[in-house]
């Protein structure tokens, strides 16, 4: 049953990769929900978080889980920094959507270049949750860390859904992007909500980073590659809907994996990108459709 195993293996790999894309897409979706800005540096949160976790682990000998948490905090801080020192000034000077895109893109380049300068071009390996152990499912392998990744991603998405729809803070954050003036009239501090949005987006990106680092190693170009996939995931799911981003990410990961195994590995990107374009044209509201827009 060689091809059965292969197919199963590709599904497992696709799921793992898919949830990584989903987490990045989730972050992009969070930022978009709160500020209507497309964040081209979302992947850099992951890079910074991965690095901070590595430094904590190797230099300061902090235990693994705590290192991961520090990474997430670092991601959030970078997000806050972005909004306070780059996005806000740009907004004050009359920035358009394209401007924000280029600002975030420029910062993405800057962070990548800074990491290259200070840390070099090596791939930095990170240990995962559950070490290097892997589960055997009918001769197909999935790392224990990957299982954790999937479980944590699903939990985070659920929590975010609840946050946005059941808590006052979450509703306020959404309100600010829908109608900033109206929101401030009801006493919501618009600047504070925007800061919190980026903080949250940064933290989610950081989470993606610490979870993915043990699988793909920390590398100065890691952010840009992740952002690309995250965009695709978010769009597939319909930008406004975080849970849509998760579905979009998983679908993307599976398409890639299965395409490699069934069609050809060289054309993997052509297939996934063409699928993306087709879905965007045929289903402008993402896979979840109009109903998805309302949902969590």
């Amino acid at each position: 049953m060689a091809s059965g195993t292969l197919l199963l293996q590709s599904v497992l790999t696709g799921l793992t990769n898919g949830f990584v894309y989903a987490l990045i897409g989730l972050g992009i979706s969070v930022v978009f929900r709160g500020t209507k800005i497309i964040n081209a540096m979302q992947g850099e949160f992951a890079l910074v978080a991965g690095l901070v976790a590595y430094l904590a682990l190797r230099t300061f000998e902090v235990p693994l889980v705590l290192s991961f948490l520090l990474g997430i905090v670092a991601g959030g801080l970078v997000g806050w920094f972005m909004e306070a020192f780059f996005i806000s000034p740009a907004r004050l000077r009359g920035a358009t959507d394209d401007t924000f895109l280029l600002v975030t893109l420029g910062v993405a380049f800057a962070i990548s270049a800074a990491v290259l300068y200070f840390f070099g071009r090596d791939n930095i390996p990170m240990p995962g949750l559950g070490g290097n152990g892997s589960l055997d499912i009918f001769d197909a392998a999935i790392r224990i860390h990957s299982v954790w990744l999937i479980v944590i991603s699903i939990s985070v998405v659920t929590l975010l859904m609840l946050f946005y729809h059941r808590t006052h803070l979450g509703l306020s954050m959404m309100a600010v992007s829908i109608d900033a003036d109206g929101a401030s009239m009801t006493g919501i501090s618009v600047p504070r909500m925007r800061l919190l949005t980026f903080l949250l987006g940064g933290a989610v990106g950081g989470l993606a980073g610490v979870l993915v680092a043990p699988l793909i190693t920390v590398h100065y170009e890691m952010g840009l590659l992740l952002t690309l996939k995250g965009f695709a995931a978010a769009i597939l799911g319909g930008l406004l809907n975080p849970s849509g981003a998760v579905i979009g990410g998983v679908v993307l990961g599976l398409i890639e994996s299965i395409a490699v195994v069934t069609i050809s590995s060289g054309y993997k990107d052509v297939i996934s990108m063409t699928t993306l374009i087709i879905i965007m044209i045929l289903m402008p509201n993402g896979i979840l459709g109009r109903g998805g827009r309302r949902g969590g």
Binding site: N123, A141, L215, D269
Partner: protein, 382 residues
């Protein structure tokens, strides 16, 4: 955490400066005041090719210092002007033009990547200038450039070395291939021309783009084809990790471009049971390599590998040719003076050969990674 190479080069620069300061005092001062012989070089110091360019530069600088310490060439010091092409052929061409027409260098060393070689070679060829490049003989057009000399083997020879080991030492019949679209593609072309003559069948050939962060799907496909051993050809440690993570237990055979200490570090605990046909195992050098390895270790506190050795050889080859033709010779005369056999630290060359490289199979050393350390195998190809 700070870029170790950066620190190393700062130390090296300090060393060079001190030596220059000392040399400029006393009776040697006349030497330092002589008009230096200028040699140009373009390398990939940043970008994807930096894994090649940085070690090449290390080797070149060490050679430059060594040559100047011994009195230079014809009583004059040499000065190698090194520029970065950022791994981009357009930039390579611009920098090369500046060195050739602006600085009026006598000979040229580099670049690190095949595409950049193509861009620069048309200029050096038109100017009848010697170019010693770190890429193997590539596209057909390079064969018409009679002053373009290569210090690295053509990919077909690398492919042959891999097949030699696979068939004669590992006795494999079925081989799986996992390769990237850049370096891997080039070597694969050679492999596919030769494998039949070694009785080896490629039961799977999977590719991924350069710089891919995860190639598990492709690795799984290779595993499913049940090969006797696998070839992994890439300029990144990622496919090696993924291969082992996907439970490929067979031996991995790779190529010279993947044999670097950086990649070994990136492979982490998966740096085991990987065989490389290469030229330099610093832990266990051949007799003709000992001098260079010792000098390098003292200067940089690290062991050199293939590309550092290639850089060292290139600089020495140019110096020797200038010495033979005379420091006031024309560029063309210097280029012609290079067309001889040369025994370098990395390999034995013969620039009069048809492929303008002259490296033969016996020059290859086969190394095996054992738990993160390179060991030299006794197997040799003939």
């Amino acid at each position: 955490m700070l870029n170790d190479e950066f620190k190393g080069s700062a130390t090296r620069r300090a060393t060079l400066k001190t030596i220059a300061a000392v040399a400029s005092m006393g009776p040697v001062s006349l030497f330092a005041q002589q008009e230096p012989i200028k040699i140009g070089s373009v390398l990939s110091l940043t970008g994807p090719g930096a894994g090649l360019g940085q070690p090449e530069r290390s080797g070149i600088l060490l050679a430059e210092k060594n040559i100047n310490d011994r009195g230079g060439v014809g009583g004059r010091p040499i000065k190698i002007l090194i520029e970065d092409d950022g791994s981009k052929p357009d930039l390579a061409k611009s920098k090369a033009e500046n060195l050739i027409f602006g600085e009026k260098v006598l000979a040229f060393i580099g670049p690190s990547l095949t595409a950049s070689t193509g861009a620069i070679a048309s200029i050096t060829n038109a100017e009848k200038m010697a170019q010693v490049t770190f890429t193997g003989l590539g596209p057909v057009i390079e064969q018409s450039y009679k002053m373009l000399y290569h210090v690295l083997p053509p990919q077909i020879l690398n492919a042959r070395a891999m097949l030699e080991y696979a068939s004669k030492s590992a006795k494999a019949k079925k081989v799986g291939v996992l390769h990237d679209t850049g370096y891997g593609q080039a070597v694969l072309a050679g492999l596919q021309t030769l494998n039949a003559s070694y009785g080896i069948e490629f039961v799977s050939i999977e590719r991924f783009e350069v710089g891919a962060s995860d190639v598990s799907a492709q690795a799984a496909k290779v595993r499913a084809s049940q090969p006797d051993l696998i070839f992994v050809i890439a300029t990144s440690p990622v496919p090696f990790r993924n291969a082992r993570q996907m439970k490929i237990t067979q031996q991995i055979v790779s190529a010279i471009g993947s044999a670097s200490y950086d990649y070994v570090r990136g492979m982490g605990e998966f740096a085991d049971d990987i065989v490389f046909p290469e030229f330099m195992v610093g832990e266990n050098p051949l007799p003709r390599q000992v001098e260079f390895v010792e000098l390098y270790r003292k200067a940089n506190n690290a062991l050199p590998k293939n590309f550092e050795a290639a850089g060292w050889d290139a600089a020495n080859i140019v110096a020797k040719a200038i010495s033979k033709a005379g420091a006031n010779a024309s560029r063309e005369a210097i280029a012609i003076a290079m067309r001889d056999p040369y025994e370098g630290a990395m390999a034995k060359y013969n620039f009069a050969a048809a492929d303008m490289t002259g490296i033969e199979l016996p020059s290859f050393i086969f190394s095996r990674l054992v738990q993160g350390k390179f060991t030299r195998l006794t197997f040799t190809a003939s």
